[in-house]
Amino acid sequence: MTDLSVDLGFIKLKNPVLAASGTFGYGLEFSPFIDLNKLGGFVVKGLYFSPRPGNLPPRLVETPGGLINAIGLPGVGVERFSEEILPELRKYNTAIIVNVCGESNEEYASVVERLNKEEGISAYELNISCPNVKKDGLCPALSPKDTFSVVSLVKKSSSRPVITKLSPNVTDIVEIALSAQEAGTDALSLVNTFLAMAVDIETKKPILANTFGGLSGPAIKPLVLRMVYQVVSHVKIPVIGIGGISSGKDALEYLITGAKAVEVGTANFIDPETTVKIIEELKTYCQKKGIDKIETIIGTLKV
């Protein structure tokens, strides 16, 4: 039997397939379609301290092989999440990761402090990279200094491992990755969406009410693979690959490049069974190639 488990150092996942934040609701939305226990884990929708409404619609537009979203992080807030949703999630035997948001460094810390009191969370993923909440896609992950200050503050507040989610909207992602590492993050996840826009030639207006949104989906995979490659060659901490993954083959490309695990995003909308199918496809690949432990293929890229 193939061993699909991967060890991130701070958690052991039963397999390297996670669902990405914002594309998997609070997890429960997928229980009619798949057995959540089969997943390596899932990252729930981004949480601020208080409930938030999100951006004005239209919030979505499709482009060739991609989706631009400007959802703007609506959510129930940390209190209702802890009281109403988390008790449901604890019933599942899989890693639950909470995607943490904040308007300020202090808000990130207060979300984490509130969640520290709750059982059943494996790690926090710091969303310092959402392009849809401030003007021009501004977020801490665009600057090494801002990244360092938010990550180090949250590390101090957190009783759990912290994964820092980076933005692709930078000239040198390695620089940001190194500053998150220096601030003490336990892992990195690459990447959030690419700042993008779409235009309606009839109305001569941007299609999204927010003008800008973030591009995800198959179209971004080659760009993110390149970034994962650059980052894994420079950091010591584990890297989780996110971008355009919809098949076992896509996931393998990331693992071979050096990602220790992957998150599946947009593909969950197209086929809610995608994560489970990817796990099956990884198993089949390993069996066909005579691989006993999937960990042995991580970072085996021959350059």
Binding site: P57, P74, T266, F269, I270
Partner: protein, 265 residues
Amino acid sequence: MIKDPQALIVGKKNWEDYYLFSLESSGIASQALPGQFIMVRISAQPQPLLRRPFSIHSKEKKNIEIFFQITGLGTSLLSQKRIGESLDILGPLGKGFVTGESFQDKVIVAVGGGRGIAPLYFLSQELCSSGASVKIFYGGKSHKDLPLKEKFEKDGIELFCSTDDGSFGYKGFVSDFFKAELEKLNPSCVFACGPEEMMKKIAQITQEKNIPAEFSLESVMGCGFGACWGCVKKIKKNFKEEWTKICEEGPVFSREEIIWTEEEK
């Protein structure tokens, strides 16, 4: 709510750019209610990427129907599928129209504009079987836009057709025709689906006459099952306005709940 990866296309009809597909999907058919919808995967390739939403147009035993108009790439590719091919669909999704025994012996009016007629056939099937007297207002740009006329007539449902160009039935907007006939018909409840401007007028007219009304709204949908927060519109809930997922809490809402978008200047 289930995924049926292989709903067989067992029937197909077409009038210009309107299509009617009959799909064999016993799981979805057994759960479907009027006003609910399905998400159809158009292609196994990444274009079009997302599934497309379509109202459930009818159900009969193991089969459901969808009725759609070509409006872009997704619907155009869908129209090329043939009998014997199968579709990957999710459904039934959302919350539908209020139906049931309370409508027995009551007059019910449903107003459909263009492809908005799609969910009203299933609705009228259901209302007729609970003993209501159903009248359908069916409006289109021209006579070509009323392809389902005969289908309703065959079922003995009283039809009020209108065309913007006057090529068939009442000349003018379906909402004006509705307004003109309303007094005479005196319905207990009104249902509507179609362009937003049409629904807005129906909302105004029914409000003035104090007749309960429900509307099926459209929105761009990323997932159709509550996971993306992409489809929201502002809805009144307990005296508060909230951005609400149309796919989960709709697509059907009562007039009192809906906040219509302001007209573009």
